[in-house]
């Protein structure tokens, strides 16, 4: 059994907050072009692994609800990663629940309705990656730089998302036996670079306060709410603008922090009380409105160790990926291994949501 194809996904309903993302466009921040890219690189990597991609391919980042897709030409192998599931409506109207953490191969005419990204961010990957034309070396959507098509705006009904040609020697699908889990301890930061714009009490308060993520958030940043933080003086609430980065926590005169995310502007004029470490950046994607967040200060050595440990843990977890045979297909690979070719062909029924 083999499957290969060059598919197209058509957007029936864009839903809220779904954008095309890859690793972003480093190297253009001196031009005022944000880094952009997936908010949770770990989940995006997991989604790509589930469809056999190398890891850098463009995926659909889902931050809300209501995205509906149709396979215009197929087959298209796809998979979800994160706290999300989908309904797969086959062309004969048969409905199948498609959970995250496993791949499925959809045929032309099949539809897919994505559920809610429960934690605020999830990913849909397709085998070979979404093949939109690149802009400045990336397929990440960003609406302010005049990028063409869906890279420069939100998805619209009728948009076509081309999928790369892919080849698979057998019809087995991929899955992870256990999901990649999110941490829920405090988010780790390196203090500064403008820690000297805040009195010691404000620095202590910043680290003790239970902050709440507000509804004022998008891919540029998240406004937090809590007891306002004081600056050393009124003048200290402004700085001569300098560079920011995703994870930067700015505190404007209001005293309410703003965490910058991937699409944030490249420079800013508010003092930066702290910056989230690289290992914890993916967690910022999941600070839905109303969620509580605390910060913990670490040093550069701890930040480095956290990143290395995470890298190792992810590599190890990616190796737990296993192939399985969806019901309705014959596992030729297993048959050959068991020397049963001359016997009766029978597809094993599979437990789970795939018939």
């Amino acid at each position: 059994m083999s499957a290969s194809g060059s598919g197209v996904l058509e957007v029936l309903q864009p839903g809220i907050g779904s954008t095309v993302q890859d690793r972003g466009r480093p190297g253009h921040r001196h031009n005022g072009v944000p880094l952009s890219g997936w908010l949770d690189a770990l989940l995006a990597t997991a989604a790509n692994a589930l469809v056999g991609n190398q890891g850098e391919e463009a995926v659909l980042e889902c931050r809300g609800v209501g995205t509906e897709l149709r396979v215009q030409s197929g087959p298209v192998r796809l998979a979800l990663a994160g706290s999300i599931k989908a309904t797969w409506i086959q062309s004969d109207s048969k409905k199948i629940n498609l959970p995250a953490w496993q791949s499925a191969t959809l045929q032309a005419g099949d539809r897919l309705t994505l559920g809610t990204a429960e934690t605020g961010c999830a990913y849909l990957a397709v085998a070979g990656g979404l093949q939109l034309p690149q802009a400045l070396g990336s397929r990440s959507s960003y609406w302010r730089a005049g990028f063409p098509g869906v890279l420069g705006r939100a998805l619209r009904p009728g948009d076509q998302l081309p999928c790369n040609t892919w080849e698979s020697v057998d019809a087995r699908e991929w899955r992870f036996p256990t999901p990649w889990s999110l941490r829920d301890d405090p988010i780790r930061v390196i203090l500064g670079p403008q820690a000297d714009h805040f009195p010691p009490e404000a620095m202590a308060q910043f680290l003790h306060e239970q902050w709440q993520a507000t509804t004022e958030q998008d891919r540029m940043g998240i406004r937090l709410q809590g007891t306002p933080l004081a600056h050393t003086s009124a003048a200290a609430a402004d700085i001569v603008s300098d560079a920011t980065t995703p994870g930067t926590i700015q505190v404007p005169a209001s005293g309410q922090p703003i965490i910058l995310l991937a699409d944030s502007q490249t420079v800013g004029g508010y003092p930066k009380i702290a910056t989230v470490i690289s290992a914890d950046l993916p967690r910022l994607a999941h600070l839905k409105a109303g969620s509580q967040v605390r910060f913990e200060a670490v040093d550069a050595t701890q930040a480095r160790r956290a990143l290395q440990e995470q890298h190792t843990a992810l590599s190890r977890w990616l190796q737990t990926r296993e192939a399985f045979v969806p019901a309705g297909f014959i596992d030729e690979h297993a048959l050959l291994q068991c020397n049963l070719i001359s016997g009766v062909l029978r597809a094993d029924p599979l437990t789970g949501d795939i018939p």
Binding site: R29, A145, I190, G192, V240, S241, D242, A243, T245, T248
Partner: protein
């Protein structure tokens, strides 16, 4: 000759994936010359120094420069110390940006704040325009939006605070001033600066894949006035790229 900015450079961690080297907290040609000197030093190091191989972005600002890098593949501490050592060298003399001569149209439709600025400063509108045209503007930083230049040098007699209530939509390519800064909005966007004119030139163009932003930190911009007719004639040619960017460079820089 400019006076040398003497502050000792400071190395600041912007998280675990970027260093900021700060030369001061003022906006001045002298401080910015040091920023641009380090910018050029870093560009040279990236050519041959393995320690700089995993640097992804170098962002000069008014009084500081930030070097972003891949934290997993970089000896961050060593990189920071090298940056600081380079910052201590006297690099300011290296600075040499390009000089641009850009057209701007002061038609009243493009300059909703011109008369207010003139009145506030007890000048005629023509006085304001002549002072703008006589000023070489220094590009300190590109930011806020792709291609948005923060340009310094606005004469003190033209300074005005930004609007108390920003406009919901500033038309793209508006020339604007606030405080001692001049800028051009490359995109339609909200904005609070005072709008004095409009340029037909596109400040950000994806056709230039390596340098989509036309202006770079360290460049100098001089404005020359064009009539509404000229503006309308130039606009489509600038938008389509029929007029090359380079044609707006001072001759020596274009060569």
């Amino acid at each position: 000759m400019q006076t040398q900015s003497q502050n000792t450079p400071r190395l600041l961690a912007l998280g675990d994936a970027a260093w900021t080297v700060e030369f001061g907290c003022d906006i001045s040609v002298a401080t910015h010359a040091r920023v641009m000197g380090l910018d050029q030093q870093v560009a040279q190091q990236r050519q041959h120094n393995a320690l700089f191989a995993t640097v992804t972005d170098v962002v000069p600002a008014f009084a500081s420069i930030t070097v972003h890098f891949n934290p997993l593949a970089t000896d961050s501490e060593a990189l920071g110390q090298q940056l600081l050592a380079l910052a201590h060298e006297d690099n300011a003399h290296i600075l040499k940006g390009r000089t641009w001569h850009l057209p701007v149209c002061f038609d009243p439709a493009f300059a909703p704040d011109l008369s207010r600025l003139a009145q506030a400063k007890a000048l005629t509108e023509d006085d304001v325009i002549q002072r703008l045209l006589a000023t070489p503007f220094q590009v300190y930083m590109i930011g806020f939006q792709p291609g948005f230049p923060y340009m310094g040098g606005l004469p003190a007699e033209l300074t005005l605070p930004r609007l108390a209530t920003p406009r919901a939509r500033v038309p793209a390519q508006s020339l604007a001033v606030a405080g001692e800064m001049c800028a051009v909005y490359p995109w339609d966007s909200p904005g609070g600066w005072n709008l004095l004119g409009r340029t037909p030139v596109r400040l950000f163009d994806l056709q230039h894949t390596h340098q989509p932003a036309m202006l770079a930190a360290g460049d100098v911009v001089r404005w020359h006035a064009v009539t509404l007719d000229d503006y309308q004639h130039l606009l489509p040619q600038c938008q389509s790229g029929t007029i090359a960017r380079e044609s707006f460079l001072q001759e020596a820089d274009a060569a």
